[in-house]
Amino acid sequence: MKSLRSPLGTVAGLGSAKSGVHHWWLQRLTSIALVPLTIWFTVALLSLPTLDHVTVIAWMAQSWTALLLVLLVLVATYHSQLGVRVVVEDYVHNTGSRTLILVLLTFLHAFLAVAGVFAVLKVAFGGAS
């Protein structure tokens, strides 16, 4: 059978980069993980007797709390990054502003992820008082 790819496309290496479903799949994977993580976080937060600093630190310093919070921060920021990326790609038509917005949103999400993990670990390792 004759190949459907043009000779120029073959030479230039154009075509599938084998990453077609990567974004789609990760969006699903993170959403499945977020179902238990967000429910746990909501229930745990609402179950705290008060939200004063001592209570919150004591809660966050527990190993399981810290572990789940780190997972929540990482998965939620990644899911958010994947989600807003599609929204921007769909609705911002100007190539220049689209690229700029995507770059800024990626930086913002990286910053949020690192800040969140740093904060939880600092409390977990006894760095907050």
Binding site: R28, L51, H53, V56, L69, G83
Partner: protein, 131 residues
């Protein structure tokens, strides 16, 4: 550059179709939750900070404006959770027939209302306890 053909955009669809309206709402609530992520990280950084920093953040985060924000986040979270689960079911290839999708939209709306009521009541109780 030659203008390339684009797929039909938002305005061409009949938004009264339940599944479409409920699908775009899933997007909007997702963006709202992304904004809520800022508040979460701000709070986590405040917890990791000094006592004074936490008190200041606590004051800002318990202001009237943020109470409105939490109401919005609560709605967005409940909807996005329920509708997101339906999207996962759709991904398996089930429930895509028109009548099924319309029926599941009502299930999504009902489940969201119940979840908002339960969590909202709990939040109300927790807020009363904390103050």
């Amino acid at each position: 550059m030659r203008a390339r053909p684009l797929s039909p955009h938002l305005t061409i669809y009949r938004m009264s179709r339940y599944s479409l309206l409920s699908s775009i709402t899933n997007r909007i609530t997702g963006v709202v939750l992304s904004i809520g992520l800022l508040a979460l990280i701000y709070w986590l950084m405040a917890v990791a900070g000094s006592n004074r920093e936490y008190l200041r953040a606590h004051e800002i985060l318990s202001s009237g404006f943020f109470k409105l924000v939490y109401a919005g986040l609560l709605l967005a979270f409940c909807y996005h959770l329920v509708a997101g689960i339906r999207h996962l079911v759709w991904d398996t290839g089930h429930g895509l027939e028109r009548t099924q999708a319309q029926k599941s939209t009502w299930i999504v709306v009902t489940a969201t209302v119940v979840l908002v009521a339960v969590l909202g009541y709990w939040l109300f109780l927790a807020a009363g306890r904390a103050s």
